[in-house]
Amino acid sequence: MTLLQTRNLTRRFGGIRAVNDVSFALERGEIRGVIGPNGAGKTTLVGMICGRVLPSAGTVSFDGTDITRMQPWDRVAQGIVYTFQITSVFKRLTCRANVALAAQRRLTRKLRDRFALSPAMLEAAVDEALAAVGLGAEAERIAGELPYGHQRLLEIAMGLALKPALLILDEPTQGLAPGDIAPFCDLIRATAKSTTILFIEHNLKVVLELADKVTVMDQGAILAEGTPAEIERHPAVQQAYLGD
């Protein structure tokens, strides 16, 4: 079943077509990797999906609803959650406060809750998300004092606390120590049991290992799409992206 569908999606920046006429579909429950050289339009494409960038032309539909013009915060309410390429946690707040901001967004649907949310309920949701990424012991630490790899995990915990239908990760392993990558992949696999995942990634090994399906982008367009095995063999991909 299709969760996300873009049709003829285009974004121009001045004379440059960062994303050009992209029609792209995502099935519910899959892990999709997006690869491509710098400037291929990957971040612009996911930016239009989560609402950070508005398209010049084309449409985006999510779960059967047209969300092309929807505001980013309303898309979060629909279940689309984006985590940043450059880690963007609230550095001066504790890990608990960071995740609480995400968790309370999900728990405070009514106006009344915005002023009086049950602290126990919020705490349970925060603990659950922190435990899922293995940061349970760091809850009271200031986020900016964590090592970089842990800040990335905190960012994921904030995403998880929103219980997204679609979790978008922009280069999640960038800056992770080599030893942190295998546990990270396990975390993504565990998360995928309840969530559809779309991730941009430069580390090809991670993409081929993790993704059910891979989309290759180049110069604003989709160059190829298929299983990791198919992508590895694809001649155009080998020439344009994998190279020699």
């Binding site: 950070r52 980013p72 915060w73 309303d74 984006y82 609230f90 002023f115 009086a116 949310l117 904030m158």
Partner: protein, 313 residues
């Protein structure tokens, strides 16, 4: 600090202010009354600057809205003290809503300029429409006593002034503390720290900034309305630039990141002006030097400095 200990500390401050009224000499009694009223203004201002990270340069607009809302209704329509307070609050709320609708899309320097501009426009209006406002000469009010639970409270009585100011101060302080710790307050802090990220956590941040401005403006207006009613005067000076810079000064001196910072800053500024104006007519030089010194050596304000020392030791 745990929630219970934080509330206890704030309640202790309120209790101390209640107790000292029996020991204060008459001169300081009046000073503390004014400080508590101004502290309500400072607390309101800090909801915007300290929590949300928005620097307003036009809060005289809200203070004056409250003061004129009370003063004009008494002068022209013979409102009693309680009705005048209600009118002042309604006026401040209305002005906050309109101002919010105009400025809520702006942040940073643009926000500062637009708030300054609106406040100056309001100040000049109070002069221009002097047939109604009596301009810079102002309106002197003579209000009847308040009949409450069989007692007749004369507004000229210093004890009535003091305890009314104390009630307003206690309400504003506890409201701001509760707000800061609520989910709503947490979002305001998130906006201060990183607005783009907050938006992508699913918050319509412009709407939160609007709400913060309305709460801030209405509290500032409460201060203005009470000031007008208790001291029986409102004039154009209430809308002047000075009343926009004062809350900024109080908040920076005391510390914007701490709920007790703005009241502390208000007290220090009041006594600093009081003492230095006894020494020289150019007392603002002394106030200015104090502000420069504080921002150099205590960038988080005095209350922020105390809290940090406690955390370290």
């Amino acid at each position: 600090m745990s929630a219970a200990r934080t509330y206890l500390l704030h309640l202790a401050v309120i209790a101390a202010l209640f107790v000292v009224q029996f020991a204060l000499p008459a001169y300081h009694y009046g000073n503390v009354t004014r400080i508590m009223l101004y502290a309500v203004f400072a607390i309101g201002y800090n909801i915007l600057l300290g929590y949300t990270g928005l620097l307003s340069f036009g809060h005289a607009l809200f203070f004056a809205a409250g003061a004129y809302g009370a003063g004009l209704t008494v002068h022209w329509w013979d409102f009693g003290p309680i009705a005048a307070l209600g009118a002042g609050l309604c006026a401040a709320l209305l002005v906050s809503l309109v101002t919010g609708a105009i400025v809520y899309r702006t942040t940073g320097v643009a926000f500062l300029i637009v708030t300054l501009m609106l406040a100056q426009a309001a100040f000049l209006s109070t002069l221009y429409f002097n047939a109604i406002t009596l301009g810079d000469q102002g309106i002197v009010l003579s209000l009847p006593p308040v009949e409450l639970l069989g007692a007749s409270l004369r507004l000229a009585d210093p004890a009535v002034k003091y305890n009314t100011a104390l009630i307003a101060f206690a309400l504003a302080l506890l409201l701001s503390l509760w707000l800061l710790r609520s989910p709503f307050g947490r979002v305001l802090i998130a906006i201060r720290e990183n607005e783009a990220r907050t938006r992508l956590l699913g918050y319509n941040t412009a709407r939160y900034r609007f709400a913060a401005l309305v709460i801030s403006g209405t509290l500032s207006g409460l201060s203005g309305a009470l000031y007008c009613i208790l001291f029986g005067y409102v004039g154009s000076s209430f809308a002047s630039l000075q009343y926009s810079t004062l809350p900024l000064l109080w908040t920076l001196l005391g510390g914007s990141g701490v709920t007790l910072g703005p009241p502390l800053g208000t007290a220090i500024t009041h006594y600093l002006i009081d003492i230095s104006s006894g020494l020289t007519s150019s007392y603002m030089i002394i106030v200015g030097i104090a502000l420069v010194a504080i921002t150099l050596w205590f960038p988080q304000g005095l209350a922020g400095w105390f809290r940090r020392r406690r955390a370290v030791s």
